[in-house]
Symmetry: C2
Subunit: 419 residues, 2 copies
């Protein structure tokens, strides 16, 4: 009964006759539970049972569907879902941490007890991307899923680009506007997006969830300079979450990425969410919408409830857990792609030549270079993009360059995502 | 067994083990039918029964699901679907003309016989927009659906904008590239898009299909000048299909529209399709992808087959036909919005003043004006955009202006769609 829970109650109450037509039956809120009974929630709870313990909901024989909106991958949220499924109750949840950590176990419980476990709201808010991957795009083999899965990160990078302001200032503004938590670390360090990506990977590639094998890099190292250079070079920087079939296995990566401005995902600004799914039959399918917030998240929760009431729900991961592949995952060290590099160097003749020589020594072609002198301290900043290469080579060249005597700062690298 | 039919066979055959996992059972092609048995289709049909008459499929007791890819709103396509539903067989179709014309009747037959009638492929190719409207966004009241539903029209307007070439030349190129039929009239005059819009309206607003109450205007009157002026004024011209809840009823409109370049739908180029759904809870949800072609359309057909095999299909229109509203529809004469107007006038002092006076006489505010002289024949072209007004007032002002002696050509108007 937090913000999303109140949103679900609002939709179910405010829209009950339309929803009854769609569900083929009346949807009734039997009981609710929350930590604080007295808290103002802006909704009427008259006529609805109150349970002091959320776990009591799972035992209430009048209840068919449990909606878990507590959060966290253990404790009450986990116990509630587990007990509900074991008691033959359907479960709807928005809890990405729980599904990323214990999705396989809970899905097996749901299958065994022939009940639904639906979690559309756990990824990309109200965008029906989980249904699309499980059902609408089911005829396709999926090559890559690319998402903007964390609204806080995307808001920060968008605002930095619009206003040329540094990360810290924009973060404080995001906190003031309510777009970032008072402790925003999970949003900014990529952990929140990684939970969501783990879920999308399993759905897109038909494999078991692996939330360990995710390379995760936050957006806090992106500087206003990077954004300005990227812009000059024809790119926008976006906080991408990528799951890609590669020759070495499935890559799962969460990191800021340069994206060409002409790509649709480059135009996804602010707190919007987006998912691009590259399909073998359909080609690219692109979904955008509100990735978070009360209405959007509640919209996804209620859609799941209607699916259950209409008895048209699919298996939690589209196929039986026993038939999900034990996929091979590929680490970031095997990544292949192009890169953006920014260097601070002493402004002396021959420096640019030595740097480009360092790249060609590793067989890396340089695609574009910008150099800007800072006359005040006789340094220069060099920003460049490379042709297609690989993670090992780029790391080698950055190491070599950082050891050169005229390099005054650790070189900074951001991956380019090409479509 | 045309292009899409062959695509369906390719997916079912090429991907059978993955699809069996998703469907929970093996999907088997029992029989096929087409006009010409000998035609080369690039697929193996060995071991598959051949029926010379498509109607024989509906009587074949081995068949559970009929996939109708014939087209047309009467004749064999209609008879096949009707007979199949009456015989208790599920039907999957890509036939927008049939669903727009006889969707209510066929849906009632499906409901009565407790079988599925699914038509995801009939609108926007492989984009799962019908599933989204029926299921993923089911918690929302929908205010407006805006689509780019005809790839040929969008290709033509995009190519005209990129290359500054006139409609006729670009159309011939589109025909050469296979993006336009040899008789492209239904694509260009908006009829094809109108069929699709009629289906989306019923799904979005929970009402009976009304394919008569659609204002339809083709793209053939859009000139390179319009595209250039729109561009200068900050807009792109797109072939939009719009279904909107208004105070006077549901508006259904298919016409070229000016869209601000910053809107996501303005960036949908070439043969891509797109649908923007404005929801009360979720806000705007935007879907893009291939709106036509063998793979994309077959992708949607196979997704419907998997839904049937998994027994998770919903009612044809999301709610029972008996519960669909008999909605009021609003004609174009009630439309409210902003407008773009282009005039050819004699280049004389006072002309612009008289024209702007004509607008203010109808209480229409002019937002922006461009005027370009043509010294060769002493005329000038004036392009302007208005503030929010209504269809009656703009038609009145255009009539008044066309009667002015210095106006050398019938004034040209294009509606602006605001989001």
């Amino acid at each position: 009964m937090g913000i999303v829970g109140a949103g679900v109650v609002k939709i179910l109450a405010g829209n009950s006759s339309t929803l009854a037509k769609k569900a083929g039956k009346k949807l009734q809120i039997v009981a609710v539970s929350a930590r604080d009974k007295k808290k103002k929630r802006g909704i009427k709870l008259a006529g609805i049972k109150w349970h002091d313990s959320a776990l009591a909901l799972a035992k209430d024989p009048e209840i068919d569907v449990i909606v878990e909106l507590i959060g966290g991958d253990k404790g009450v949220a986990y116990e509630l879902c587990k007990t509900a499924l074991k008691s033959g109750k359907h479960v709807v949840t928005a809890n990405k941490a729980l599904i990323a950590a214990r999705g396989m176990e809970l899905a097996e419980l749901a299958e065994k007890n022939k009940v639904a476990l639906l979690f559309e709201a756990s990824v990309a808010g109200g965008i029906p991307i989980i249904k699309a991957l499980k059902e609408g795009l089911a005829a396709n083999n999926i090559k890559r899923v690319t998402g903007i899965l964390n609204g806080t990160s995307n808001f920060i990078l968008s605002a930095m680009a619009d206003e040329g302001r540094p990360f810290d200032k924009v973060l404080r503004e995001a906190q003031k506007l309510g777009y970032a938590e008072s402790d925003p670390s999970f949003d900014i360090n990529g952990k929140d997006a990684a939970h969501k990506l783990a879920i999308l990977t399993a759905l897109a590639h038909g494999c078991r969830i692996n939330s360990e094998a995710i390379y995760t890099e936050g957006i806090n190292n992106v500087s206003p300079d990077d954004i300005a250079y990227a812009n000059e070079l024809g790119f926008t920087i976006r906080p991408l979450s990528i799951s890609r079939m590669s020759a070495n296995g499935i890559e799962q990566r969460v990191h800021p990425s340069l994206v060409r401005k002409t790509e649709p995902i480059a135009s996804v600004n602010g707190v919007l969410g987006a998912v691009l799914v590259e399909c073998d039959q359909l080609g690219p399918a692109f979904f955008t919408g509100a990735g978070a917030g009360q209405g959007p998240t509640a919209s996804a929760v209620v859609a799941d409830i209607i699916d259950i009431a209409s008895e048209r729900y699919s298996l939690p991961f589209g196929v039986a857990v026993s038939k999900l592949a034990e996929a091979k995952f590929s680490g970031i060290e095997n990544h292949k792609g192009s890169y953006y590099v920014r260097l601070n160097v002493k402004d002396k003749p021959g420096v640019l030549a030595s740097i480009t020589a360092a790249f060609s020594k590793q067989d890396i072609g340089v695609e574009a270079v910008l150099q800007k002198a800072n006359t005040r301290n006789k340094t220069a900043q060099i920003a460049l993009t490379t042709h297609h290469t690989n993670e090992k080579s780029i790391r080698k060249v950055l190491k070599n360059i950082s050891e050169m005597e005229y390099v005054v700062e650790t070189p900074h690298m951001i991956r380019i995502e090409e479509f």
